[in-house]
């Protein structure tokens, strides 16, 4: 038997004696497009790269964790989620474990007829990417706390 506590600091139940488990430390946002090919995977990959390469995270170093301990969950939103190859999207991530989920969102814009070149798509695609970075972490119970961290 274990107790569930309502921890008002993280607004979710946590096990007694445990500070927290999977803890989200950062979110990165990006947008990508496929202007000519109508390729949802390409738009998703570009959105993910936009999210990742706008920031340089040094959370792992700050906490003294290995970079491989990062849990990187990617949420992609496009108008046709079934047409996104999640393996290709996931291959963009340089390290860490995690998931890629695709939901309905983003935006498709129909091209004016006169702008359609032969062999190109009839629509312009926008994809959004949200990268949720977490660690399965908790506060050290033995070590004394110092400035910057408050319980």
């Amino acid at each position: 038997m274990y107790w569930l506590l309502w921890d008002r600091t993280i607004k979710q139940p946590v096990e007694r004696g445990k500070q927290m488990a999977k803890t989200r430390v950062a979110m990165e946002l990006g947008m990508g497009s496929s202007l000519r090919r109508g390729d949802y995977t390409q738009a998703a990959v570009r959105a993910l790269k936009d999210a990742l390469w706008h920031n340089s995270l040094s959370m792992a170093e700050a906490f003294g964790f290995a970079k491989e301990a990062m849990i990187v969950d990617v949420e992609i939103a496009v108008q046709h989620p079934d047409q996104v190859d999640t393996a290709t999207v996931k291959a963009v991530l340089p390290y860490g474990t995690g998931t890629v989920t695709v939901t309905h969102g983003g935006l498709d814009i129909t091209k004016p007829t006169r702008n359609r070149a032969a062999g190109t798509s009839d629509k312009t695609i926008i994809a959004h990417a949200a990268v949720l970075v977490s660690f399965d972490m908790e506060r050290q119970t033995s070590a004394p706390t110092t400035a910057g961290a408050r319980v």
Binding site: R24, E28, M59, F63
Partner: protein, 120 residues
């Protein structure tokens, strides 16, 4: 102070040649591509955060650093302006488009000894 994140951004003022406006837009671009959720999830204080902002423009003396600093919603902001960015001149009209680069570093006094990965 440990750096948690470096946020990058670019902003422009296409026709007004307003270097401060371009710098503010670059800062907004940098800020709104990420969120430091750890302040909420680990219950840390935003006020303890130090924010180092570096702006790059072709005419650093024309940036009002106090106005740029006001763009930062949390933490103690220090704005430094250096020569950088990019100016693009239209040779026909003579108009100059001003492009600013922004680097925003969020730092916190964080002791790694206070934290550990959960045992698996």
């Amino acid at each position: 102070m440990t750096r948690l994140i470096l946020e990058l951004g670019a902003g422009n003022d296409l026709y007004g040649e307003d270097y401060t406006k371009a710098a503010c837009r670059a800062v907004q671009d940098a800020l709104h591509h990420s969120s430091l959720t750890l302040f909420r999830t680990l219950n840390l204080a935003h006020g303890d955060m130090q924010v180092n902002v570096t702006i790059g423009v072709q005419h650093p003396e024309r940036v009002d650093a106090a106005v740029v600093a006001a763009e930062l919603p949390r933490g103690k902001a220090i704005v430094t302006v250096v020569h950088g960015g990019q100016n693009v001149t239209d040779p026909d009209s003579g108009s100059v488009s001003v492009i600013a680069s922004a680097a925003v570093e969020a730092c916190l006094d964080l002791n790694p000894n206070d934290w550990q990965l959960s045992p698996t």
